[in-house]
């Protein structure tokens, strides 16, 4: 097999300009080579820039600096040999299955007969025989994503990009599609040389990939690379499989050491008012605290274990766990979630006591909440407009992130009864609603 990389990425950086003239860094120091015969997984939580990297490779966006080359050529705009499968399928609802598959070839102005031949072959390969004249709305989710695969394969790409292709499907359908894909891949029946798979599902990554790049956030960067040497087909119950999953959890919960920790806010040590707060309700926090406090965990939970117990993917579990860590209700380390004394107390307490504990931690460990409270206390009217805080937040983050952060802080503050918020007038105040 040819070992020269098909895709070469070095020192790629992506930032978006902010209205105040600064910039928002979403990807930094990306280095990656993809060789023929590999399935490379980009694993990370939302906001870790893995989808952004995929779009850079697809030519749908442009890097701020650094170099991306495909077969030695720099990537400007979508390249002919790179095709993409989308998370929500992105089928054209007004085109039939056949027309959807053929569109990439139409765009290349291929001869009619050739288009027909190749489209039918792709439809056949992916198991869509008999569905040629159906419209996407007539198909189930699984069949729609098969069309997505056929549409990408028909252009005979060298690299297939997959953006969480199974995450919009139910568990059973996703599993069927994964196995079918791996079968075709291992039998070499697909006209592709390499695959890049974006996912936030650790087991999916271990199941499918030869290499897994674990992404961290703020800014998005590669934390570590893990080679998966297990033979295909892989078994989820195999101890070496479980071990690898466990190891990735540990990687993803590792605290950055030394200088790196000070520079990055991801683990919350230097948390200021400019941190983006996740959309995690007080209910989810209470729920996870209770689950970890109860048997069989009794205060310390192994993350893969509790993820499968609660049927949560890392995308759902990590934000809650990290919020608990930020609020000092729990410690997150070595793939474990361990409750603090106050975390345990919260889990045992009644409603009023919970609110008191929550209020204390909110004002002590979430600077934005403390800031809002202080502003309200200082003003004679005890009223402050929302726009004032939005403006402050937008010095640090995008408009969207500022809105979301404020929604979160409103909801936490309401639960703690630290302050009140009137959506109609868009103002914070200290008085309780009547």
């Amino acid at each position: 097999m040819n070992t020269a990389p098909i895709l070469h990425i070095s020192d790629v950086r992506k930032a978006f300009p902010k209205p105040d003239g600064g910039e928002l860094l979403v990807l930094d120091g990306m280095n990656l080579d993809v060789s023929a015969g590999q399935i490379v997984g980009l694993l990370g939580r939302s906001g870790s820039g893995k989808s952004t990297l995929l779009r850079l490779i697809a030519g749908l966006a442009e890097a701020s600096s650094g170099e991306l080359t495909y077969l030695g050529q720099p990537i400007y705009g979508p390249a002919a040999g790179i095709a993409m499968v989308f998370q929500s399928f992105a089928l054209f609802p007004w085109l039939t299955v056949f027309e959807n598959v053929a569109i990439g070839l139409e765009a290349q102005r291929m001869a009619k007969a050739e288009i027909r031949k190749r489209s039918l072959a792709a439809i056949d390969l992916i198991g869509l025989d008999g569905f040629e004249s159906a419209y996407p709305r007539e198909l189930s989710g699984g069949m729609r994503q098969r069309v997505g695969f056929a549409r990408a394969l028909v252009v005979h790409p060298n690299i297939l990009l997959m953006d969480e292709p199974f995450s919009a499907l139910d568990v059973l359908t996703a599993e069927t599609l994964r196995t079918d894909f791996l079968d075709l891949w291992s039998e070499g029946r697909m006209p592709i040389k390499g695959v890049i798979l974006v996912t936030h599902n650790i087991e999916e990554a271990v199941l499918m990939c030869d290499r897994i790049l674990v992404f961290g956030s703020n800014p998005g960067r590669i934390l570590s690379e893990i080679k998966v040497m297990l033979p295909q087909p892989r078994n989820r119950l195999d101890p070496s499989f479980r071990e690898l999953v466990e190891r990735i959890y540990v990687e993803m919960t590792a605290r950055p050491t030394g200088a790196a920790a000070a520079a990055r806010t991801e683990r919350f040590p230097g948390l200021g008012i400019g941190s983006v707060l996740p959309q995690v309700s007080s209910n989810s926090q209470a729920g996870l605290l209770e689950a970890v406090a109860a048997a069989p965990f009794n205060g310390t939970a192994d993350l893969p274990k509790i993820a499968s117990d609660l049927q949560m993917e890392i995308d759902e579990l990590f934000p809650v766990a990290e919020t608990l860590q930020m609020m000092r209700f729990a410690e997150l380390e070595g793939g474990d979630l361990r409750l603090t004394e106050d975390g345990k107390a919260f889990a045992q307490a009644d409603q009023d006591e919970r609110k008191r504990i929550f209020m204390r931690h909110l004002l002590a460990y979430v600077p934005l909440a403390a800031h809002i409270r202080r502003v309200l206390d200082e003003r004679a009217s005890h009223v402050a407009r929302k726009s004032r805080f939005i403006d402050e937040l937008e010095d640090f983050m995008s408009e969207e992130a500022a809105e979301q952060t404020l929604r979160t802080i409103v909801s936490w503050g309401r639960y703690a009864e630290a302050y009140a918020y009137d959506d109609e007038r868009a103002t914070f105040s200290l008085e309780n609603p009547t």
Binding site: A107, R137, M143
Partner: protein, 581 residues
């Protein structure tokens, strides 16, 4: 790959008998319809190139036997205008959506144009178009088509613009990553995506257009009288002759025409565009159309469709494809070009302002301007009072009907039909009544303003009440919420977003209608209500240019301000607070 377990089958079994291979009966039906259409168009277009004098030689007759021809002429004008509006929409809206620079100006222009009372321009556009084709009927025809166009185009362009701006990111990325050329992208992604909303707006435009086509066929500009053969002119003639029976015939004809184009044109279109909807969940109820079924089963029509598709693909291939340019070049427009654009726009604004001011300062006084504003306030009062009255009547009825699916199914089409019906055809009956019973025109002419537009309130409220989730109604019942409390806490908040939408449309329509309802004739009797509408109508008849401009300017100003200061905030409020997602 293993066999599929999903229970979806789409294969259609088709058996071909040898007779069927020749022509199906749907082919025959389609053939008749197509040929009939051609004949109709030929007949209707025959008089276009006749000299204008011919209109006087063959005067219109009140004999109902001519009504089919007149109706055909009127309908043809409508569709001509609709076609122009469609082309305008695809170009203007695309330009506005694709060029950020142009969009900054084009979108507000659309917004203003939507609020300008077009009827007032009637005489101006006639003068302009007649000068293009002096002495020919076609000049007047162009003017009529243009007036209808101005009543149809804006909301269509707006809807397409909105669609272009809201194309789902993934679809757009898919088009880009499979390297569709811009031309292909336009026909394969953007137009199909915008079509459902566009067709809905075309129906609204068509309804609105009838009002103007009737008003625009017979017009006096200064001392020239232009009467294009059509239903509008027929009505005008009937009014002149005080012939109530002829008016009855015209009303009947219009009912038939509206029914026909709805069944033959819009129903098939609505059913057809249903497939373009992006929400891919199988809808609860799919619309049906017998005409579309016929067209789908007919091989003739299929062949036509396929050839259109082939043209799209062929042009897609023929248009030269540039290799994807670096994204950066597209993303950042040049500063100097920006500056040039801004200064061009600035110059145009200054020039326009100067013209308006020159016309107004030279010929009018502050006193007159104030007087016109006073008249505008009168008209505004009428509009608001009437909207309030109509709401009092139609909101409870709409809620009652909307909550009963059986009744809604029956009433909803009627309400939509009534909204489409050109209410000005009915004015003569009301005027006859006012003249006969010697009623006060200042009060009794007013209801005419809302005669055609109140139905928007009704059918929007019905739609809102039908959309009220059954669970909410059960909950209200379960907790014993009844009577006034039920209206206050359940029904009214539930339908408010829909009601506001309807009321905005009704209000806009009423302002426009003011120009034909505040000044009406019956034979040689003229009834006048004091207001801005009659002021503009007077100025138009007298050919008094500066008064016309003043009247239109004030009316535009009032409509824009009322929309911005009252309706729009109300709409956003209702959307935010009461829209059930």
């Amino acid at each position: 790959m293993p066999s599929m377990s999903e229970a979806v089958t789409t294969r259609r079994l088709e058996t071909f008998g040898f007779l069927r291979d020749l022509a199906s009966r749907w082919d025959l039906a389609a053939f008749v319809v197509v040929i009939g259409l051609i004949a109709f168009l030929g007949e209707a277009a025959r008089g276009l190139f006749a000299p204008l004098a011919q209109l006087d030689v063959t005067p219109l007759s009140l004999d109902p036997i001519h009504l089919p021809e007149y109706a055909a002429r009127t309908t043809l004008r409508m569709f001509a205008a609709l076609a122009v509006s469609f082309v305008f929409t695809l170009t203007y809206a695309t330009w506005a959506a694709k060029s950020e620079r142009a969009g900054k100006l084009l979108v507000p222009i659309l917004d203003i144009l939507q609020s300008v009372p077009i009827l007032g321009f009637l005489s101006l556009t006639y003068v302009f178009f007649m000068s293009l084709a002096p002495g020919r009927v076609i000049g007047a025809e162009f003017a009529a088509v243009f007036v209808i166009f101005t009543s149809q185009a804006w909301n269509m362009a707006f809807s397409f613009y909105q669609s272009l701006r809201t194309i789902p990111t993934e679809l757009s990325e898919a088009a880009e990553s499979f390297r569709l050329s811009p031309w292909m992208r336009f026909w394969q992604l953007e137009v199909p995506f915008g079509l459902p909303a566009l067709v809905w707006n075309m129906m609204m435009s068509m309804s609105g257009g009838w009002f103007f086509v009737v008003a625009s066929e017979s017009i006096t500009v200064g001392h020239t009288q232009v009467s294009l053969p059509g239903v509008g002119t027929y009505i005008a003639l009937a009014i002149e002759h005080k012939n109530l029976r002829a008016i009855g015939w015209a009303v009947g004809t219009m009912l038939l025409v509206i029914l026909l184009y709805d069944q033959l044109f819009f129903r098939p279109l609505v059913v057809w565009v249903d497939r373009f909807r992006v929400e891919q969940e199988p809808g609860a109820r799919q619309p049906h159309s017998w005409v579309l079924t016929m067209m789908r089963r007919s091989r003739l029509v299929q062949a036509g469709k396929l050839s259109f598709h082939a043209v799209v693909l062929w042009t897609s291939r023929a248009v030269k494809r540039s290799d994807a340019p670096p994204i950066e070049a597209v993303a950042r427009p040049k500063r100097s070009l920006d500056l040039l654009w801004v200064s061009l726009v600035g110059a145009a604004v200054v020039l326009g302002l100067w013209h308006i001011v020159a016309v107004l300062i030279a010929n009018t006084s502050i006193g007159e301007a104030l007087q016109v504003c006073g008249l505008a306030v009168l008209t505004m009062l009428r509009v608001f009072v009437l909207i309030a009255l109509a709401s009092l009547v139609w909101v409870p009825i709409g809620v009652w009907v909307g909550l009963r699916p059986r009744a809604a199914e029956f009433v909803q089409p009627i309400a939509q039909f009534l909204a489409a019906f050109p209410a000005n055809l009915l004015f003569p009956f009301a005027v006859y009544a006012i003249v006969t019973w010697k009623l006060e025109p200042d009060i009794w002419l007013s209801p005419l303003m809302i005669l055609g537009t109140q139905w928007y309130i009704l059918f929007n409220v019905i739609a809102g009440a039908s959309a009220l989730p059954a669970e909410l109604r059960y909950a209200a019942e379960n907790f014993g919420v009844k009577g006034w409390l039920w209206w206050r806490k359940v029904a009214l908040p539930g339908v408010l977003p829909f009601y506001v939408t309807g009321a905005i449309t009704a209000s806009g329509g009423s302002w426009n209608a003011a120009q034909v309802t505040e000044l009406v004739n019956w034979g040689n009797t003229t009834l006048r209500a004091h207001g801005l509408g009659s002021y503009i109508a007077d100025a138009a008849v007298a050919g008094n240019f500066h008064r016309l401009v003043l009247g239109i300017a004030v009316m535009s100003l009032f409509v824009v301000v009322i929309n911005r200061a009252f309706w729009r905030p109300l709409y956003y409020y209702a959307e935010r607070k009461f829209r059930l997602t």
